[in-house]
Symmetry: C2
Subunit: 305 residues, 2 copies
């Protein structure tokens, strides 16, 4: 955990450049989603590259740890690959963290985009190398994302990341201003880093959380774990994204409000990121500002070279 | 976390003594289970005492934190209550940990028995006070427990705890001998203590784990979290209990073997504790010995006054 690492930025892509596709977590369950994602990237003007065994599966994992790890390093090492995209989340990235080659990543910084289980890779790479990584769509979710999310994804890849996010439907649960480094990700995945050497630095972060398909008592337990670990004492602001199939979202918001009752920090709900159709790009490691009066999240740092 | 606290022992009960019943986690879902448990305790010769609002419910919790906490302290404070039993687990004990009155518990040590979500209370009370607490049946699971588990429960309460456990069906996954303090509980509940001030001391423990209804990838993630947090480096032995509705139990055993491949410590599977009908008593905080050649778990310490 080193919050003071100098940020490393990846170079943007131009049309004709290559995106590397990896399966570091769960296996592709639906080949149509896979081919649909590839077609979308092709339609956007990019080439794609992936290992011929990318559809391999090993129960709930997309292959053995060694297969997933070597695929990750092979694509990252490939000088023609300018960005890395995962096929999907699920579970499995946690198992890879101890063996990541951070020197390789530092030497060949690339755009790295994902969410859900990918959170732990985004977070760990950001922490250990300083590379700004991106919480956003994956190959098999891109086709289901709304037009604005797809455009934001394309704009990021081509070096025009959006630095102001102001959306309809945002709920200002608790007002105020905050500035801090962005830490965005899946609530369950982040909680399963607590007490490990892979735990991110929480202090002074704008913490953005999302999840899907976790029963209300599980969401409560996850938030309570974060609180019991003292992390909610350290953050500068909290942004709650999608919580589909997690019960009543107002109950989730209320639990967050209760656990943060004594702290005068902004808390937002219904932010468009996560497993829903609207999944806007959020750069991990970049300074960001929450302005509750305008409902605007502003990225203050440069994000691409 | 203080592994060197002097053990505190509770006094055994005699027939006619009173058992206090609490609902510190989830609400009673089935009043028949509740009344069946009460009848069983009465048939065993004990009186029972509980607050008139014990069937209260508040979504997935048996009332507000304040209600559950005050009930816990009220029953513990009651000089006529000699043992404390929870109605059931579920979720909720984690929310109570910061406000437990350890002075009260130290001054009036009682037999305290439970499992599942109760793990975090058993563990935290053991750690902070030195009281030997007991992993075993709860009120609404007692009637479904097999005769041997019920008898073991009665024998413990009346001051004749079993100090040798040797059962049919035990699987010695990795042989060897080990001695250490017993830390027994629900895998999910224990993992949600990692990185918090409520985390137990793992070093030199005989760690006994059980769970129910967690998908295989979740069990993998929980074990991997324990490993990533370095806890599997510290334990002296691992005993896997019931893992009903968690997929293939051999896959769980194999994951544990893989994560502990470099360590020469005994690993046992199919130990009769947890959510199944056979849920033998295990005293948290007591020294225990695993002997793989005989398949015998021996408790070395005195457990009751």
């Amino acid at each position: 955990m080193n919050a003071t690492l100098k940020p490393i930025l990846a170079a943007p892509l131009k049309k004709g450049d290559t995106i590397g596709i990896i399966a570091p977590a769960g296996p592709v369950r639906n080949e149509t989603d896979f081919s649909g994602g590839l077609k979308l990237l092709t339609d956007l003007g990019f080439k794609t590259r992936y290992r011929s065994d990318i559809l391999r599966h090993h129960d709930y994992l997309a292959g053995t740890d060694q297969e997933r790890l070597s695929e990750f390093h092979e694509l990252w090492r490939d000088p023609e690959v300018q960005a890395i995209l995962a096929v999907r989340g699920g579970y499995g990235c946690l198992r890879l963290l101890p063996d990541l080659d951070f020197d390789l990543i530092r030497q060949q910084p690339k755009m790295f985009i994902g969410f859900s289980d990918l959170t732990v890779l985004l977070s760990e790479i950001q922490q250990k190398t300083g590379l700004i990584t991106f919480h956003g769509p994956m190959l098999t979710t891109l086709a289901r994302s709304d037009r604005d999310s797809q455009e934001g994804f394309f704009d990021l890849l081509t070096g025009r990341p959006r630095t102001e996010i102001k959306t309809t439907g945002l709920e200002i649960l608790k007002g105020g201003q905050a500035t801090g480094r962005l830490l965005a990700g899946n609530l369950t995945s982040l909680v399963h880093l607590l007490g490990t050497p892979f735990e991110p630095e929480w202090r002074d972060t704008i913490l953005v959380l999302e999840d899907i398909g976790e029963a209300p008592y599980r969401i409560d337990r996850l938030l309570t774990h974060l609180w019991a670990a003292g992390k909610l004492e350290q953050i500068a602001g909290l942004v709650l994204g999608d919580f589909d199939q997690c019960g009543d979202r107002e109950a989730i918001w209320q639990r967050a409000l209760d656990l943060l009752a004594h702290r005068a920090i902004p808390i937002w709900g219904n932010f468009p990121c996560g497993h829903g159709s609207r999944n806007l790009i959020l750069p991990l490691g970049a300074q960001a500002q929450l302005d509750s009066s305008s409902g605007r999240l502003t990225i203050l740092d440069q994000l691409v070279r």
